[in-house]
């Protein structure tokens, strides 16, 4: 074995070993790396009340209601399997709308309602001009089949 070949295998081997180590660490920590839990995961995990965490999903269409003074917003977050009621007091980001992704930070109350302290809007991977979006909706080819 020439020294060059030896160094080649040494470098390749070290990177492979480090890659395995990183994979193991990330797999072990994956529960902490996720940015939010879905409503289904929350139902499975039995998170105790008052523990702060983030929950993500879609704002259910038709579920958004505001209090008369406009400060408190109530809506449902769904992953199409399970649904969680959310109550939030404060300003909502521009992209917050029904049928769109949202990430809420807060805690579950003893009544099962998620009291959000912060709301972040989640953007999806679709980019198009308004006319194209309108044409897709008009022809019924929209991503979720809804108008």
């Amino acid at each position: 074995m020439t020294p060059k070949r030896k160094r080649l295998w040494l470098v390749l081997g070290s990177v492979a070993v480090l890659g395995c180590a990183a994979t193991l660490v990330l797999t072990a920590l994956s529960d902490n790396i996720v940015f939010f839990y879905s409503p289904t995961q929350i139902a499975e995990k039995q998170i105790p009340p008052e523990r702060r965490f983030r929950m993500g999903g879609l704002v259910e269409a038709g579920s958004v209601t505001k209090s008369p003074d406009g400060q408190v917003t109530r809506f449902k977050v769904t992953d199409t399997n399970k649904t969680v009621d959310v109550v939030y007091r404060g300003l909502l980001p521009d992209l917050f709308r029904e049928g769109q992704g949202v990430v809420a930070e807060g805690s579950l109350g003893s009544d099962g309602v998620f009291a959000a302290r912060e709301i972040l809007a989640k953007h999806d991977e679709n980019y198009m001009p308004p006319e194209v979006a309108k044409a897709l909706k008009d022809s019924g080819q929209w991503k979720d089949g809804k108008k």
Binding site: Y127, M128, V132
Partner: protein, 239 residues
Amino acid sequence: MADLHFLANPARFRRFSQRVLPSLAFATVLMLAVGLYMALIQSPPDYQQGDTVRIMFVHVPSAWLAMAGYALLAGLGASLLIWRHPLAALMARASAPVGAGFCAVCLLTGALWGRPMWGAYWVWDARLTSMLLLFFLYLGHIALSRAYDEPERGDRAAAILALVGVINLPIIKFSVDWWNTLHQPASVARLGGPSIHPSILIPLLWMAATLFLLFVLLVLLRTDTEIDRRRLENAELQA
């Protein structure tokens, strides 16, 4: 592929770069002028984001180049450690700050986009955190390569860091698939083709090609400077 081995010799590399630099610079400026017109004027606003989508024309190519730049650093590190290529260390010194610059642009433009769209400049999700880690790896490379009195020792230490850090690249790319993140999943390089309308995708790819040329231009230019600097230092040592 043409044999690029002749470029391993610094003197020949210098002659090669001196020949291509003027036309490369001209092409970069020309493409940037067209690209800015496409990105800022000709392309339509997005149906959700409005004009804020235009930040993507800088943000996404910067992210790609920050990652490609680090892959380059790792390749140069390997060729230094394994084959002792004389040019690899000089080019790594030259390209690390360029990659760090693109990484910083990616992080800053992302924050400016995140505030109006998400409602936050910064969140600690897997994509953003791994990209910040890439920026620190760049800074570590720059610092480590300049940390020793003998430049060769710094080059070797930085090369090892570059190879260790390369593990972060697949983590950045797939972070949005492996874990829940606030950052949206891939729109261009994904199964099933791009999910960006051609009227927005074409300016994006054009800007990516433009910034790629800018990246190559800066790396060639800075490598030339490193060659000159190393020659000057050797001459001083002999004098």
